[in-house]
Symmetry: C2
Subunit: 312 residues, 2 copies
Amino acid sequence: MSIAETGEFGLIARIVARLGTGAETLLGPGDDAAVVAAPDRRVVASTDVLVEGRHFRRDWSSPADVGHRAAAANLADIAAMGAQPTALLVALCVPTDLEVEWAEELAGGLSAEAGLVGASVVGGDMSASPTLTIAVTALGDLQGREPVVRSGAQPGDVVALAGRTGYAAAGFTILSRGFRTPKVLVEAHRRPEVPYAAGTAAALAGATAMIDVSDGLLQDLGHIATASVVGIDINRDAFEIPDQMRDAASALGVDPYGWLLAGGDDHALAATFPPGAELPPGWRVVGGVHEGTGVTVDRRQWQGGKGWDHFR
Amino acid sequence: MSIAETGEFGLIARIVARLGTGAETLLGPGDDAAVVAAPDRRVVASTDVLVEGRHFRRDWSSPADVGHRAAAANLADIAAMGAQPTALLVALCVPTDLEVEWAEELAGGLSAEAGLVGASVVGGDMSASPTLTIAVTALGDLQGREPVVRSGAQPGDVVALAGRTGYAAAGFTILSRGFRTPKVLVEAHRRPEVPYAAGTAAALAGATAMIDVSDGLLQDLGHIATASVVGIDINRDAFEIPDQMRDAASALGVDPYGWLLAGGDDHALAATFPPGAELPPGWRVVGGVHEGTGVTVDRRQWQGGKGWDHFR
């Protein structure tokens, strides 16, 4: 059945039926607005949008995959502030000939990913559009902590990473070349595995700056370097190339460090910690902060791709 | 200059330069997420999306108009809960050949409308897309009050309205037929005049249910009737037809009550109040609540259009 047949309100009812209710949801979908608990008296909020053809393809990803990914991209931004995600709102623009089941399964994916951190989809809006577009807003609670911003890195800090880099970019390259394996890489493009708990753990451990790695590690660390007015150097040897990534890179004739250092969309978390800080589980040192500007690899300019700029 | 020339980060910098900072903004644009004050320990949140060709046309509305309208549609949802808007987040999808000035002026409109209620744009995301799309999320604070939901109307309550209805729908019809006047109606389509203060005033005066009239008065009152399990009757004589609307309706051969009772997008607020409640300034009685179901006009089924369903 197409969305033109169910109509807006029919589709919304079907989607709402797929959504769970998180502990922080005081008033869920169905009114003019939702009401979400904000026990900290501050709310953390971030918006990310996925556009078909730019961020996903329906022939590469299932609707549940797209839902997981849209939620993950937003929840990772909340985690990167050291906050606990509480809720998602979703603006969904769909072609009128879209199958209703596609939208329902998308909602299922959004809801399931939010459920990984105890959050839920509390509201949204829907419109017909020639371009399938999913804009998600995530809310979060700081639990009494200060937000971990990009501007706090100090010379002498260590640079640490939680989660994977390069997997989603490798998966994207593989799919672009018409292949479907290795599965671990292709799946990473479809559904990132975000180290959510590492965000609050880093905040508790005294992280001085933190960022969600969505555009590529070097580019995103560049945002910390710029905001903190410091230089950052990465040790290439801190990155082991997983066997399947090495094999895929070799078969496709690309440099796997391009994926690891400049590939986006895994939503790893990168942070800086004071020298001597004990890193929480899941974090590993990959470099250091020094006086200066910019981001280097083994003290040299990285010559590979720099990451994504969505308009070029 | 087109957006393809400035790139994503260049455009974001230009847009951020257009935004003000509201009193509730603790951390504005530029980090992974924004931080907004939520003094009430609850946050009200709503998302609305505008799609070019469905909700606006670039040849009918200026970019600032579109910004005002996108912000107003969301801020009205917060007001309809009896809450005070605090912040907006904006996901903007734009064709790469869009002029940068268009996006800048859109941001100016969003920011100016938010400024009317002391709120500001605190964050967002941007992507290229073939379809110009603006998804806005508004946040608000309940200031210690309970949210005014749709389900609280009781038989015996009066139905009251704050703000205009029919103006935006009349403006849309006029523009659709190729005309550009009367200006008051056309401008109402471009920039709704939302009675924001009436929302919190209604909550303080004991409103039992409230809704933002975005899809047409009868349809939106229908949501209150359904959620509250009551019937609602509207007095047609409570609606005076403004002279310019009467003249336009006559010239175009349409029933002006269709605009007044079923036209959307003015973002009036409709609410129910207990019998004998003193209505706050700006509110006027237009009907009553009774035991039963559905919405009638002068106790009869309304035969005109029912409002918008965006997929049919």
